[in-house]
């Protein structure tokens, strides 16, 4: 059962270049930390897939184990865990986020 959740998460991450696991949706974030990351991604002009963990308790719990990271939001770019709210915001402020988001595969 647990494997299934981890596989589902892996599937979501594999099939989207930029994925944000968050509380609420990109149009209606339901947590200040999630809202901050959405805003930063918007300003970076990045397209991203949002996954609302509030609608899926299994993913909400599973994603914490997936990255050994106990909090949400979590941002994944091309299969790699980039960070939570504080790290994303810091990368944005330092001008490092665009490079991570825009680097094309290869």
């Amino acid at each position: 059962m647990e494997d299934t959740v981890q596989e589902r998460i892996q599937g979501i991450i594999d099939s989207n270049d930029v994925v944000l696991f968050m509380k609420g949706t990109k149009h209606f974030p339901q947590c200040g930390f999630s809202a901050t990351v959405v805003e930063v991604l918007r300003r970076s002009g990045s397209e991203f897939q949002d996954v609302n963990v509030l609608e899926d308790p299994a993913i909400r719990q599973g994603i914490k184990e997936f990255a050994n990271w106990p909090t949400i939001p979590q941002l994944y770019v091309r299969g790699k865990f980039v960070g939570g709210c504080d790290i994303i915001r810091e990368m944005y402020e330092k001008g490092e986020l665009d490079a991570v988001l825009s680097a094309k595969e290869g």
Binding site: F33, N68, W69, P70, T71, F81, V82, G83, G84, C85, D86, I87, E90
Partner: protein
């Protein structure tokens, strides 16, 4: 609910080599926190690894009593730059 002193102690014990730490209760409800931590143990670690070390130190507290934790982590060198 937890107390700031408990969080500070857990982080000091779990992370180790902490030279500076500030823990703030953001909402006065003892469940939304921010912490600034300077530790030699963070040297050479990525931000993700640094935050994982703090989460590991807090263990089960992250699964309930601590609803939110804003983290700023620094090695002594990066902290000196920040201050300068």
């Amino acid at each position: 609910m937890v107390e700031a002193e408990d969080l500070e102690e857990r982080i000091r014990q779990g992370v180790g080599d902490v030279s500076h730490i500030v823990v703030n209760d953001l909402t006065g409800t003892k469940d939304h926190w921010e912490a600034l931590i300077v530790s030699e143990a963070f040297s050479g670690k990525s931000p993700i690894e640094q935050h994982q070390m703090v989460y590991a130190a807090l263990g089960e507290l992250m699964a309930g009593p601590v609803h939110a934790l804003a983290l700023k982590t620094y090695s002594p060198e990066s902290w000196a730059k920040q201050e300068g």
